[in-house]
């Protein structure tokens, strides 16, 4: 069996890694370089506090994999396990915070509703007037997405996977029961093609005649200069969409949840810089003296019903592994990749039935 994976982000590489662990012959195509897409542009928040109940088991399993994979692939993921805080700045969202905690409890995960004053006990310079309610989960925290991708790539290569960079897939032809994939004037034959192209997944699907219509979301992120460890947990305000934490390198990294766009666009805007600066200095006023060093934008995709799109399609052998969605690609991709590899190997896997691409 030969599998071609389109897109070397955390989803594509996880799938390739688990397939190759079972001895399957895999080639991964990346249109530019590793980390070019959303897996190289996000802020690394990981937590079981994912907003859709269907995804909680995958977030939990991914956290477990983030513990075991580094020694398996011999790469430190720089995972800072200092917890995750969700904030609500209006009453409607405060109710969501309460619901989220009771759902997590049902899964046996310890998390709690806390007041803004209690947030201040965890982050001394937090402004309690910037939120009405919060929730806190000790599991999870901040992972550095770059070594996750490099580590998975190393693990893949150790297992014999070929990762081709600067290798944009131009055409996919159905060729009997196989696929011919055209890349840089060369042709590759596969039994399965996995579409893990993130925001570019719609385009890849179109190559085999599937109109997928995943939502494309553009999001902007920035970092300040580095300072000594100061903000421990990952903080995400579900009302404003603003999130902030500190990286293992000491930079304060943060962004604002993106909006749906018609086409792929990774331009940076002053509007974002201003909006972020206003929001983050209201949340943690002491940050106002820090300088923003760099801002960038990324694009990712989300299934039309808000859930990932993972599994077999009406075209036999063409497999979707995309649409992971807002605030959760890094949180769920390793476990989804593992389950998708099982689906490809065995031909069925009930664990990911909810994400069936043919549900639409």
């Amino acid at each position: 069996m030969k599998v071609g994976v389109v897109g070397a982000g955390v989803m594509g590489l996880s799938t390739a890694y688990f397939l190759s662990k079972s001895g399957i012959d895999v080639t991964v195509f990346e249109q530019k370089y590793l980390l070019y897409g959303a897996s190289g542009r996000n802020s690394g928040g990981v937590s079981p506090m994912v907003d859709r109940e269907e995804l909680i088991p995958f977030a939990l399993e991914s956290l477990r994999l983030y513990d075991t994979l580094p020694s398996e692939v011999n790469f430190n993921f720089l995972f800072r396990k200092n917890g995750y805080i969700k904030l609500a700045s209006d009453e409607g969202d405060a109710e969501k915070i309460r619901e989220g905690v009771s759902v997590l409890r049902r899964f046996g995960i310890s998390s709690k509703v806390i007041s803004p004053e209690e947030v201040k006990e965890i982050i001394p310079d937090f402004n309690p007037d910037s939120a009405v309610l919060a929730s806190y989960c000790r599991e999870g925290g901040v992972i550095f997405p770059w070594p996750v991708v490099w580590g998975l790539a190393r693990g893949c290569r150790e297992n014999g996977v070929e990762i081709r960079t600067e290798a944009r897939v131009e055409k996919i032809e159905r060729n009997g029961s196989r696929f011919t994939v055209h890349v840089n004037g060369e042709k590759y034959e596969f039994d399965f093609v996995v579409n893990s192209a993130g925001a570019w997944s719609n385009e890849v699907s179109r190559m085999v005649g599937i109109e997928q219509n995943n939502m494309i979301i553009k999001e902007e992120v920035c970092v300040t200069e580095s300072i000594k460890p100061y903000i421990n947990p990952y903080i995400y305000d579900i009302t404003s969409g603003l999130y902030v934490t500190q990286t293992a390198r000491g930079e304060i990294i943060g962004g604002i949840t993106g909006k749906s766009v018609d086409r792929i666009d990774t331009s940076s805007t002053v509007e974002f810089a201003v909006r972020y600066a206003k929001g983050v200095t209201r949340m943690i006023p002491k940050l106002k003296g820090l300088a923003m060093l760099r801002q960038w934008a990324g694009v990712y995709d989300e299934g039309r019903d808000g859930l990932p799109v993972v599994g077999f399609t009406e075209i036999d052998g063409f497999v979707q592994a995309n649409g992971l969605g807002k605030h959760r690609g890094m949180m769920i991709a390793p476990a989804l990749g593992k389950e998708l590899a099982k689906l490809i190997e065995r031909g069925e896997n009930s664990a990911i039935k909810k994400f069936d691409p043919q549900r639409f």
Binding site: S226, S268, A277, K278, T281, A291, Q295
Partner: protein, 91 residues
């Protein structure tokens, strides 16, 4: 004897040897080298080190500086404190 240390990137405290090591590890295109070593991502955002990194990469890989290119240049041009940005107007 004191080991010779040629500092290439002062913000991230990187030596030429470390850049060479990263290239040998396979991070041999500029964007990957930047991310793996942290070169050009510090306070100067590459103003002090980018050309050194390109030079080393060119010497190691035999590619011309034109083929190597430069990293994506991202705003702001110089670091801007958040209290200044927060005075901006948005709709």
């Amino acid at each position: 004897m004191v080991k010779e240390r040629k500092i290439v990137c002062r913000c991230e405290d990187l030596t030429e040897e470390e850049i060479v090591h990263a290239i040998e590890e396979g991070y041999s295109d500029l964007e990957s080298l930047k991310r793996y070593t942290g070169a050009t991502t510090g306070a100067c955002q590459g103003k002090g080190c980018l050309m050194h990194v390109v030079r080393i990469l060119s010497q190691k890989t035999g590619k011309s500086p034109d083929e190597i290119g430069i990293t994506t240049q991202r705003p702001p041009v110089n670091p801007v404190p958040l209290y200044i940005l927060s005075e901006g107007d948005v709709e």
